[in-house]
């Protein structure tokens, strides 16, 4: 059962009805059963791993809290994090490390005979492992108390709306919401349904409509530079639509139960710098990396170059978290370099803007920054979407070749796609931008919508639902579901 299915909608509708009928003291049983059932329909073979990880983190958390000495707490926390990372490492990174060592041994002429292992990546392991780590570290830091109720703790680990692809939540935020008695609230339910519908809209009308177009470009034996430029920019749009749709559905579904999840996106493609981009893209991961990697790495470090090293390491971890391949490591490295370069040249760039009098036209300056940031982000995604490092470098070279940007080449590249598909995509892409424009100018599009007449609300809802039914296409799963 994937998010984009009628089964999921029926499952959620039934669950919501039961949730508000069942007395509060039994609701955790309902949510937990639903979460495990949901996970089982997607990946039943890894239920035991989920259960073991949950039990291990629960027990370790209590043990950490019971220790009197800070040093003992730390030792247990480090041990707990190590075991969780080992789980993740075995399933996600064993073959990556093994292949890399084999390649290195080949280069050095060493004998290396550990064979490739046929390991399947457990669904959602990257997400729930990060939640577990944040729980143990926060306990050690004294930011929260160990959860004694095993049921609530298990829901924190496996809450089905956000289990598969986040947002990565903190126990401090989520656990109290599970424990609080949620009453049926019209606003919550209405908002949740709209958010789910909007997720379906972005996924079936933007992301999955673009998916075959992008695949066409990157599966071609010898794509032109213009095709790579166009394909990469479309991939950027696809990735955003896909992942933000997943977050929309997660946030909307959780809200039906009265649970507020963290917003994961704030129009990242309108960021004015790379630093700004990371405040808007996959926010729950960015803040996780900040709190549990970057800040500890910066502890006691004051010199600028030491901070830059911490930034690079943080982005390398971000890259490797996304996928066990050198292309993802390079993607992370590129963002680390962007971030360091952006910080190191900030003063000079401001001086340059002043010199060319861009500071006198702030609106133009802003849009130049937005366009530049989008291009930098898109360029890095060449590494995200390519199958291998060699292919990524080839595509990256094509991306930066000036002739790849020739308008005639770009127009010709468009003909790779079906005209109907492209026109339909453009129409709905415009609709998404109208929504984003309202967000930028009115604060919240949802609040703006709530202030319209009932007729306008019904018309917009009908537009969304009918568009999905008539023009929606769907592939299996979400891109980030694979991480």
């Amino acid at each position: 059962m994937t998010f984009i299915s009628i089964e999921f909608l029926l499952f959620v509708a039934l669950l919501v009805a039961m949730y508000y009928v069942v007395p509060h003291r039994f609701r955790w049983v309902l949510l937990l059963a639903a979460s495990y059932l949901f996970y089982a329909t997607l990946s039943i073979q890894f239920i035991p791993l989920l259960l073991v990880s949950t039990a291990f983190t629960y027990v370790t958390g209590i043990l950490i809290e019971r220790q009197d000495e800070k040093r003992q707490k730390k030792r247990l926390m480090v041990m707990g994090v190590f075991v969780l990372v080992m789980f993740l490492g075995w399933f996600k990174y064993f073959n990556f490390v093994n292949d890399s060592l084999r390649a290195m041994a080949g280069l050095m002429g060493w004998n290396y005979d550990i064979p490739y292992q046929d390991i399947v990546l457990p669904l959602a392991i990257s997400f729930y492992t990060f939640q577990a780590i944040s729980y143990l570290v926060d306990l050690y830091r004294g930011k929260l108390k160990a959860e004694r109720h095993y049921g609530y703790f298990s829901i924190y680990f496996a809450f089905f709306p956000q289990l598969v692809a986040g947002p990565i939540e903190r126990a401090k935020k989520l656990l109290p919401q599970f424990k609080a008695e949620q009453r049926f609230d019209y606003e919550h339910v209405s908002y949740g349904m709209k958010r789910i519908a909007w997720g379906f809209f972005k996924k079936t009308l933007i992301a999955d409509r673009l998916a075959p177009m992008v695949a066409t470009v990157f599966s071609r034996p010898d794509p032109t530079g213009s095709e790579i430029v166009l394909g990469t920019m479309l991939f950027s749009i696809q990735l955003y639509a896909d992942f933000s749709a997943c977050s929309d559905i997660a946030i909307g579904t959780a809200r039906l139960f009265g649970i507020k999840l963290t917003e994961n996106f704030r129009q990242p493609h309108f960021a004015v710098s790379i630093a700004d981009f990371w405040n808007r893209w996959h926010i729950s991961l960015s803040t996780w990396l900040r709190d549990y990697i970057f800040i500890p790495l910066c502890k006691g470090k004051k010199k600028r170059h030491q901070i830059y090293v911490a930034i690079i390491i943080t982005f390398l971890i971000s890259g490797i978290w996304h996928g066990a391949a050198w292309s993802f490591v390079l993607w992370g490295l590129i963002h680390g370099i962007y971030r360091v370069f952006g910080d190191a040249t900030k003063h000079h760039r401001e001086q340059l803007a002043s010199f060319v009098r861009l500071d006198r036209t702030p609106e133009l300056h802003k849009w130049i920054n937005i366009a530049t940031t989008f291009q930098l982000v898109s360029f890095s995604r060449v590494f995200f979407v390519s199958d291998s490092v060699a292919q990524a470098f080839h595509h990256a070279r094509l991306y930066v070749t000036p002739s790849s940007w020739a308008p005639t080449g770009m127009l010709h590249a468009l003909e790779l796609f079906s005209l109907l598909d492209f026109v339909v995509f453009l129409f709905f892409f415009t609709a998404v931008h109208v929504f984003q424009y309202i967000e930028r100018t009115k604060g919240s599009a949802w609040d703006w919508l709530a202030g319209r007449s009932t007729l306008a609300n019904v018309a917009i809802q009908l537009f969304v639902i009918v568009s999905v039914l008539v023009f929606g296409v769907s592939s299996e799963g979400f891109i980030y579901g694979g991480f």
């Binding site: 299915s5 019209y186 599966s219 071609r220 079906s418 039914l469 008539v470 929606g472 769907s474």
Partner: protein, 301 residues
């Protein structure tokens, strides 16, 4: 609370009202009905002289009924060889002893690992034969196809198929553009198949089909349908050797292979083709008569 229910009821009501004509529209579409021949046969089965398997190339390739043979076309668009076997096993009980099975080979036979539209098989195969499929999808498709993601759009695309780039017209540039695009798609698919080890699996399945037919006493013939010269220029001998023939040779199958791909009776005759790799009615009639004669020559008829 009350307003939520009223609004919800209004929205759902209007959506249902819109779904009724959409549903009818999908039910009349080509994509929904391209398994119609099999469905008609299901309702009124008869003893069969000949069955053909394959992809759209075969689907547009054979019509033996005008030649007096009882024929069932089990080919569907982008059908994998795995599904060829499933379709054969589902319907071969109607094939008379010693009946003929045409296994159509195409450029994608060994590289294709994904069926085109799973929905095509909901009514013609048993549920357990179809790769993971939801109960909702399986049981509602026949009556409510509009509820299925992409179905309305697929039907709509067919209706407005003339809305396309000039360069995408099948015969523009004498079929060269179409053939080049198809070639690039097939090359990309072949590359994926090599990485995913699909070729070995498909070879094993072809072997399984032949062994199954032989165990049942059917007479098997491999066949490759004709293509237009523009298509043949891309899928020339060297390319076809790499995509198909080298793999076929390693199987060492003891069955005849009727290869019409570059047949000169078709290759330069655009009048026989709907597009560079699919025959039209006239081409289908000619190919069927040629196959009929060849089967007679082989002593199969």
């Amino acid at each position: 609370m009350r307003s939520l229910w009223i609004k919800g009821a209004v929205v759902i009501g209007i959506v249902i009202l819109l779904l009724i004509p959409l549903n009818e529209f999908v039910k009349k579409s080509w994509a929904y009905n391209n398994n119609q021949g099999v469905l008609v046969f299901q309702n009124d089965p008869s003893s069969l002289d000949i069955i053909n398997l394959g992809t759209s190339h075969a689907m547009f390739g054979y019509a033996f009924k005008p030649l007096g043979l009882s024929h069932l076309d089990l080919a569907l668009p982008s059908q994998t060889i795995e599904y060829d076997l499933k379709m054969l096993k589902q319907y071969d009980e109607h094939l008379r002893p010693g009946g003929i099975v045409i296994v159509s080979l195409s450029q994608i036979t060994f590289s294709n690992a994904e069926i085109g539209r799973k929905e095509n098989y909901y009514q013609v195969l048993d549920r357990e034969d179809i790769e993971p499929v939801s109960a909702f999808d399986y049981y509602t498709y026949a009556s409510f196809p509009a509820l299925h993601s992409g179905s309305v759009y697929t039907a709509l695309s067919r209706e407005v198929r003339d809305f396309r780039w000039a360069s995408h017209e099948p015969w523009v540039n004498k079929g060269e553009n179409y053939s080049k695009r198809k070639y690039e798609m097939v090359e990309a698919q072949y590359k994926r198949a090599v990485t995913n080890r699909d070729i070995e699996q498909n070879k094993a399945r072809l072997q399984e089909i032949v062994a199954y037919c032989q165990s049942k006493g059917y007479r098997v013939v491999l066949a490759m349908e004709p293509v237009h010269a523009s298509y043949n220029a891309y899928f020339n001998e060297a390319v076809m050797d790499r995509l198909v023939h080298q793999h076929l040779a390693t199987l060492d199958l003891d069955v005849p292979f009727l290869n019409y791909m570059a047949d000169e009776r078709f290759v330069d005759e655009q009048e026989y083709f709907h597009n560079p790799d699919h025959l039209n009615g006239k081409g289908r009639a000619l190919l069927s008569s040629l196959v009929y004669e060849d089967l007679k020559r082989l002593g199969y008829l």
